[in-house]
C-alpha cells in the first residue's frame, strides 16, 4: 500500500487525510485496532504541524507519504515550518494526582506518537522538516 498527498495546514484537511488513510489501511487488510493506532499517530503528527510549525496559518504546505511494505509501515511528513526536535520520550504522569483545575487539556501528542510507533526521527533539509515515523504491524496484514 502506498499513499501520498499534499495538503494545506488546515484542520479539516487533516481530518480528510486521516479518513483516506483509514480507508486504505482497512482495504489492505490491516485490523481495526492497528488501523486506529496508525490514524491516531498520523492525526497527532499532522496536528503538530498545523499548530506548531505553521501556528494555525492556513496556507502552509504539508506533504504526507505513507507506505506499507511487508507489514512495515512508514509515514513521512514534511513541512516548511521552523526547525524542531522530537522531545525525549517520558512516561505519562498520573493525572489523578493533579488538582481538578490543573488537569491537562493538551501536551499528549508526542507521547501518543512515541507510544504507538517503533521509530521517530526528524531531519532538516532545504528549510524543510522531514518527520519519519515507523511502525511494524503484526497479524493479518498482507
Amino acid at each position: 500500500m502506498q499513499y501520498s498527498t499534499q495538503i494545506k495546514s488546515r484542520q479539516p484537511a487533516v481530518t480528510s487525510v486521516v479518513a483516506d488513510v483509514e480507508g486504505q489501511l482497512c482495504a489492505s487488510g490491516v485490523n481495526p485496532e492497528q488501523t486506529g493506532e496508525v490514524c491516531l499517530v498520523l492525526a497527532e503528527a499532522l496536528n503538530n504541524v498545523v499548530e506548531h510549525a505553521y501556528r494555525y496559518s492556513e496556507d502552509g504546505d504539508i506533504e504526507v507519504d505513507l507506505s506499507l511494505i511487508n507489514q512495515n509501515l512508514t509515514i513521512n511528513i514534511s513541512d516548511f515550518g521552523p526547525e524542531f526536535s522530537v522531545p525525549e520520550p517520558r512516561p505519562v504522569s498520573d493525572p489523578s494526582t493533579k488538582a481538578f483545575e490543573d488537569l491537562p487539556e493538551g501536551g499528549f501528542g508526542w507521547r501518543l506518537i512515541q507510544m504507538l510507533t517503533d521509530e521517530v526521527s526528524v531531519r532538516r533539509e532545504n528549510n524543510r522538516n522531514h518527520l519519519q515515523l515507523k511502525k511494524h504491524l503484526h497479524g493479518n496484514t498482507p
Binding site: 487533516v14 481530518t15 486506529g36 491516531l40 493525572p95 507521547r111
Partner: protein, 115 residues
C-alpha cells in the same frame, strides 16, 4: 456539530452524533457542550458511542468540558468505542473520569430515583 440531548429526571444524556472528535471539531464541540451546561444542567452524561475516532485535541476538549462543568455537578462519559477508550487509557485520563459502559446505566438510575 450535532449534539442530541435527552432528559431523564435530573440526568441529561448528551449524544455526540459524529464519527470523529478531532482537532477540526474540538472547538465547536466545546462550545456546544458549554451551551448545554450553561442552560442549567447539573447531571450530564456524554454518550460517545458514535465516536469511532478521537485524537488528543478531542480528549483535551472533553477535559475542558469537565472542568467547565466543575466539581459541584456530575459529569460522566459513556459508551467508549475501542479506539476512544485507548486514548483515555494511554494518557491515563481514564483515572479522572467517571466512565459508564452505557448511557442506559445512568438512565435506569435516574428513572429509579424519580420513581
Amino acid at each position: 456539530m450535532n449534539l442530541e440531548t435527552q432528559k431523564y429526571g435530573d440526568v441529561i444524556i448528551v449524544r455526540l452524533c459524529e464519527g470523529r472528535l478531532d482537532a477540526a471539531l474540538s472547538v465547536r464541540f466545546k462550545e456546544g457542550m458549554r451551551e448545554i451546561v450553561d442552560a442549567g444542567a447539573t447531571d450530564i452524561v456524554l454518550d460517545l458511542g458514535e465516536v469511532a475516532f478521537m485524537d488528543s485535541s478531542g480528549l483535551g476538549a472533553v477535559v475542558s468540558v469537565m472542568k467547565h462543568i466543575g466539581r459541584e455537578k456530575t459529569f460522566r462519559i459513556a459508551a467508549l468505542t475501542p479506539a476512544v477508550d485507548k486514548v483515555f487509557k494511554l494518557t491515563r485520563m481514564d483515572s479522572v473520569f467517571k466512565i459508564l459502559s452505557s448511557p442506559n446505566d445512568a438512565i435506569d438510575q435516574a428513572l429509579k430515583a424519580t420513581g
